[in-house]
Symmetry: C2
Subunit: 251 residues, 2 copies
Amino acid sequence: MSHDAGPLTPGGHAWWAARPVAATIARRGRPPVGLSRIVAVALEIVDEVGVQAFTMRMLADRLSSGTATLYRYFTSKDEIMAHVLDLVLGEVEVEPAHVAGRNWQEAMTLAADRFYRVLRRHPNVLPQFVRQIPVGPNGMANRERVLGLLLAHGFAPDLAARAFQAIGHYVIGFAIQQASPDSTDRDAKDLHDFFQSVDAATFPAIAATATFLRASTVDEEFHFGLKLLLTGIDHLHARSVGSTSSAPGSS
Amino acid sequence: MSHDAGPLTPGGHAWWAARPVAATIARRGRPPVGLSRIVAVALEIVDEVGVQAFTMRMLADRLSSGTATLYRYFTSKDEIMAHVLDLVLGEVEVEPAHVAGRNWQEAMTLAADRFYRVLRRHPNVLPQFVRQIPVGPNGMANRERVLGLLLAHGFAPDLAARAFQAIGHYVIGFAIQQASPDSTDRDAKDLHDFFQSVDAATFPAIAATATFLRASTVDEEFHFGLKLLLTGIDHLHARSVGSTSSAPGSS
DNA sequence: ACCTGAACACCGTTCAAGT
DNA sequence: ACCTGAACACCGTTCAAGT
């Protein structure tokens, strides 16, 4: 996994588009030459300048090629971005050894945390989540790994599916609201400052709560919400099975 | 609230940009003529064709004006979209009467549900959440209302702030992953079908869980995750105060 | 003093012409 | 057979010229 700069990937099939551009696949039996290199360089550019500033001409220049060449491998800019998203998802690594001895709560925390860290490393890729649900090979592998983990811990299939979805949506939602891709300076401290600077007369509740938020870091806030979800899941899980694992109670 | 087609709003100040374009404000002491009409029509267009297809020329045409005129009221397309987002947030209405007699869990469920419904009504506006944290007048009013509700129920300020953030991020994350703005056809059923159609040999966990997902609706899945969060919050809240409100247990 | 047509410097995508 | 320069039809934004 995480083939982040290899020469080329075998045959990019239909995976990358959930539905929107999905019709335009299946055709293109062309030679898969520098496909993965194009994607790797595209990710580089997106990481540097953001999705908004990313340009087909930039990409072509960096590959010392023309824009027309790109269309021999991909049908559109959007398809390239879909591949970029999956490349990023390939960076999510949860070694089986790290999950082995743990209870499901610890394992899920680890998985969610790894996912969150990857999103933080590539904040400029986040807009792509608004455009597609990740069903590329790496996205599917991640999904399979986490769902399998829950099932292995005795979760009923429907509970596993819903828990996975709730956690996944939370992580993505948190990452999206936490890091705006195009602005370079805005971070959590700024926002806490902003909320604390509001007029306490017109926004009493915002002012009262902002003071307490200022002391906390983004990671703390992330894990707080994650813990809430896991606690809720544990309730449902314990009701069906008899294994209420006492929470590790770490902040 | 929800001034959705009025003639004009008083003085649009600096609110709309959290940080990115925020420097370009404060100047512009121009006459606030058709400002709110521009925003209302912009929302109409975004609802119809999406953010991607939205064009300054479209907007100008619909106002029977030129694109240059738009720049007399707004400094950029992004500023217009920020106003559009806040206009949408103005549609979130939680009547005090509906919250009055309820416990905090019921009240928060109502608030989150109203928010979610508005996002579902304007899925094309979702990409804007990737670009900014909503600090416009309506966004601030919503934040104040919900935070105030938690405080009124005896929540400690830090717990209120974190609970609000966790729920907000979850709702946005769910809405974003649930509805892709540019594709017109993809919905949850499609996705459930897709996950159920994967090869059970290579993706056993995905296949096993997809069967159960197919039976559920998007709204059910949304409320499932919301319930998880509320259950987790109740644990923390009950620990500090003595008011463990028994959950309404309505799946 | 206010408005705006027409232009500017781009963009994603295509295709005819090159090798 | 494969590649790509140059063009096409746009885009957001600006500004000089109109009223």
